[in-house]
């Protein structure tokens, strides 16, 4: 059994990650409201405070000293903010945005106490501390003018008390709503109440009382502040939720005497015996979700694969009886049951896949921060417009997507959107627009990164490619406009000679393309000079299931991810030529290098050479033909890892069950390309390794 402490550590990291993501999202909302000049949403500020506050608490308990130090400094700052002692401004937003990246980095450290991080953390804390609090304006305590009651005041936290004062100062009236809730369904009821109240009132707190409550129900006193007139609130709540009364102003302060019916504290032994039916009572959790390690879902998916194999084996046993007429009726019945089983199995598969899905908004929210920061650094005005943030895809893909998308976003700001003065000269709006759109298309998700910046000059791209020796002038001559745009995906291609902080990090569009391809996706580019650029990334919803072309080599099945396959053509040995030791064929006037998989894997090819096929695969701008024996067809397959011992074997992405007790190796097209072209780049003409 694993050490429970390891699980607790995992729990910490998962929660810390969630808190940082929530912080990131909330900061964007705060920033947006600030940019629009809106008043600060107190609930939002409190949420931000709570995230940091909780993070500080748990970081300390789990030995994440630096995270704790930063969170502590921010906590003080945010406490000042939520208690009205400081205001939202650019310096405050800057340190807050900065914290998100710091937290993420520190949480990823092997050694959470790493001494070399200390100086950076100290400098950051000093920056936070430099944003001092302003003394709160003292104009007497408005709470004293209200008959709230000391019993109520004594259970308010400092923050709730502050909210009460703030609401009074804003001219809201205070209300006391008394309502009885069914304990078993209290979460739903409170949710409904919150929806009803929504923007009309601020809920300060819920006070549980014993009056009017028992084991099944409980009375809550909900303290509300609202601008809505008393009569209106009364008309709505009375009868529906209980009674509502306004807390009068300038009434004498009554002191609630302690409840005389209290049972003295030392009567423990006289109380009903403590419950031994511990597990039997209704312990329905209010939070209806659990965190699951994604590997556990992979394991589940593997079990589904095994089940499919068992089903196949049963079918074959059944077939062996088929010849015998006396089993006919039973066999028909068995066949019907078997089909039902398959339906349920595919349902199970779909549901497990569904659990892996997370909204893309998780990664989009990171970009808003980057856009804000980048635009400021470059003196550009950029508005980020996000659509389809709720589009869901596999958690693993969403994680992998962050870097390539980040690069595209940075490119758009860095090279796409023009500085304000340039835009004015071009009669474009001063503020550039960067759109991130996501939507489902069949079993794919499409993500567009679109800007209304300067666009690309296709002919200039071609000149650059030729100048850099990536392309011969003759080859360049025949390129279509789209081909010219695609040149940006060549390794070593960069149109901007100046290296900037933003995107000049030595990774170019070729890396973006390779990463997307690795996930079984494709990336395409559309651009109009002077108007803007749109990069479209299409990805499968999940990597757990891929669409594959099943082929055989030496009578063994192999699966080729369909995303890499361009076409399949009959193979004719007589057309094969040898150029510098490599086999090539000519297709539509182009030279296509080919790789005989039978030879590569040391398998005996099928005797007859005619009737074999060349599968033309494309990665970036390179094409390579794989020679195979037979085409079996297309299939959705679940890729399983080859396990630790075989993980070093190159060229295979994993294995897949084909459902007939045959296992196909899934070819790793990018790895095979690298294997094939490595060291031979210079001889292959146009493309060289950067």
């Amino acid at each position: 059994m694993s050490d429970p402490r390891d699980n607790v550590q995992q729990e910490f990291l998962a929660e810390a990650q969630e808190l940082v993501e929530a912080l990131s999202r909330d900061l964007l909302l705060l920033d947006e409201a600030h940019q629009r000049g809106e008043r600060v949403d107190s609930a939002l500020v409190n949420e931000i405070f709570r995230s940091v506050h909780t993070l500080k608490g748990i970081a300390g308990m789990f030995g994440y000293k630096h995270v704790g130090t930063i969170a502590h400094a921010l906590e003080d700052l945010l406490d000042d903010l939520r208690l009205g002692r400081t205001i939202v401004g650019d310096p405050l937003l800057d340190v807050l945005f900065d914290s998100v990246e710091r937290f993420q980095r520190l949480l990823a450290l092997e050694d959470p106490q790493a001494p070399e991080e200390k100086s950076g953390v100290d400098a950051y804390v000093a920056a936070v501390r430099s944003i001092g609090a302003q003394p709160a304006t003292e104009d007497g305590d408005p709470l004293e003018q209200y008959a709230i009651g000391s019993a109520v005041l004594s259970v308010l936290t400092e923050y709730e008390e502050h909210r009460l004062r703030a609401c009074i100062r804003e001219g809201m009236k205070l209300y006391r709503l008394r309502a009885t809730f069914d304990l078993a369904a209290i979460d739903d009821s409170i949710e409904t109440l919150r929806d009803v109240i929504h923007d009309d009132a601020e809920i300060i707190t819920y006070l549980p009382s014993l009056e009017g409550g028992n084991d099944e129900s409980i009375e809550l006193v909900v303290l509300l502040a609202s601008h809505v007139p008393e009569a209106e609130l009364k008309a709505y709540f009375e009868g529906r939720y209980g009674t509502i009364e306004v807390i009068e102003e300038r009434a004498p302060l009554p002191t609630n005497p302690p409840n005389p019916t209290l049972i003295p504290p030392d009567t423990r032994s006289e109380l009903p015996p403590s419950d031994d039916d511990w597990g039997q009572a209704s312990l329905r959790s209010l939070a209806n979700s659990v965190r699951v390690d994604i590997r556990k879902l992979d394991d589940l998916m593997n079990v589904v694969g095994e089940l499919a194999l068992v089903r196949g084996a049963v079918s074959r046993v059944v077939e062996s009886f088929a010849a015998d007429p006396k089993h006919r009726q039973s066999l028909q019945e068995l066949d019907r049951v078997g089909r039902g089983f398959e339906r349920q199995l595919s349902e199970l598969r779909m549901r497990i896949l569904d659990v892996r899905m997370v909204p893309l908004g998780q990664v989009f929210s990171k970009f808003a921060r980057i856009v804000r920061q980048a635009a400021r650094e470059h003196d550009k005005q950029v508005r980020l417009v996000v659509t389809g943030a709720n589009t869901e895809m596999d958690k693993l893909i969403v994680e992998e997507l962050a870097d390539p998308l980040m690069h595209l976003v940075r490119n758009a700001i860095d090279h796409g959107i023009e500085p304000v003065d340039a835009r004015m000269r071009l009669a474009k709006p001063a503020e550039g627009t960067l759109a991130l759109n996501a939507y489902h298309k069949g079993s794919n998700v499409v993500i567009e990164v679109e800007d209304d910046g300067c666009g690309m000059n296709a002919h200039k791209l071609r000149e650059t490619a030729v100048a850099r020796g990536l392309l011969t002038a003759e080859a360049g001559h025949d390129l279509t406009r789209q081909d010219m745009l695609n040149l940006v995906f060549l390794p070593g291609f960069s149109t901007n000679t100046s290296v900037t902080d933003m995107s000049g990090r030595g990774v170019g569009m070729d890396v973006v393309k390779t990463n997307i391809l690795r996930m079984g996706g494709v990336v395409s580019i559309a651009s109009e000079h002077g108007i803007g650029t749109k990069i479209t990334v299409t990805l499968p919803i999940t990597l757990a299931i891929i669409r594959a072309l099943i082929v055989t080599v030496g009578s063994r099945p192999f699966a080729l991810p369909i995303a890499a396959v361009r076409e399949a053509v009959p193979y004719s040995p007589k057309d094969v030529r040898s150029i510098q030791g490599r086999k090539v064929v000519t297709m539509r006037g182009e030279t296509l290098p080919i790789c005989d998989l039978a030879r590569l894997f040391g398998l005996q090819p099928r005797g007859r050479q005619a009737g074999r096929f060349v599968i033309v695969c494309a990665m970036g701008t390179r094409e390579l033909g794989f020679v195979v024996d037979e085409l079996v067809g297309q299939e959705d397959v679940i890729t399983k890892s080859l396990g630790k011992t075989l993980s070093s074997v190159r060229g295979f992405a994993g294995a897949a069950d084909l459902g007939d007790q045959r296992l196909a190796l899934v070819l790793d097209a990018p790895a095979l390309f690298t294997e094939y072209f490595e060291g031979a780049g210079a001889q292959l003409g146009a493309e060289t390794h950067a």
Binding site: E11, A151, L210, I263, P264, D266, T267, S274, S285
Partner: protein, 129 residues
């Protein structure tokens, strides 16, 4: 016999930490509540030896739960521990006034928590025999 303990905290990591700390060597049986509402459900139907409550929670805060337990016949013998952090100083003080038997400041260690519970429950064990 293991103590019946309830931990009320909106942080799942803190709840897991408390659970693992206390369930080790069968020291205590721990139930968890993520929200004040969930705690109210449990407090209405169970008696606990120890209830550990975080002061700063959304909706129903720790102080309100302390006030509720003070009035609840079922929880009269219950030891109440209020968890807070330095920034909640004022709130922790109020907790003491509302009948918290001990204040525990985050971050705390496993042994610190166990020792605190031992010291709180031993006299109770003597009284009730």
């Amino acid at each position: 016999m293991a103590f019946h303990t309830l931990i009320v905290d909106d942080s799942s990591a803190v709840r897991a930490f408390v659970r693992v700390s206390l369930e080790d060597a069968d020291f205590a049986r721990v139930q968890e509540a993520e929200t004040g509402f969930e705690a109210l459900q449990l407090l209405a139907s169970h008696s606990f030896d120890v209830v550990i409550v975080d002061v700063n929670m959304p909706d129903i805060n720790g102080l309100e739960l302390l006030a509720f337990m003070k009035k609840s016949p079922r929880q009269q013998g219950t030891c109440k521990i209020l968890i807070s952090t330095a920034v909640d100083g004022l709130d922790a003080q109020r907790g003491a006034e509302l009948g918290a038997d001990a204040l525990l400041e985050k971050p705390f260690e496993v042994e610190e928590l166990r020792e605190l519970i031992r010291s709180l429950l031993d006299p109770v064990a003597e009284v009730s025999g």
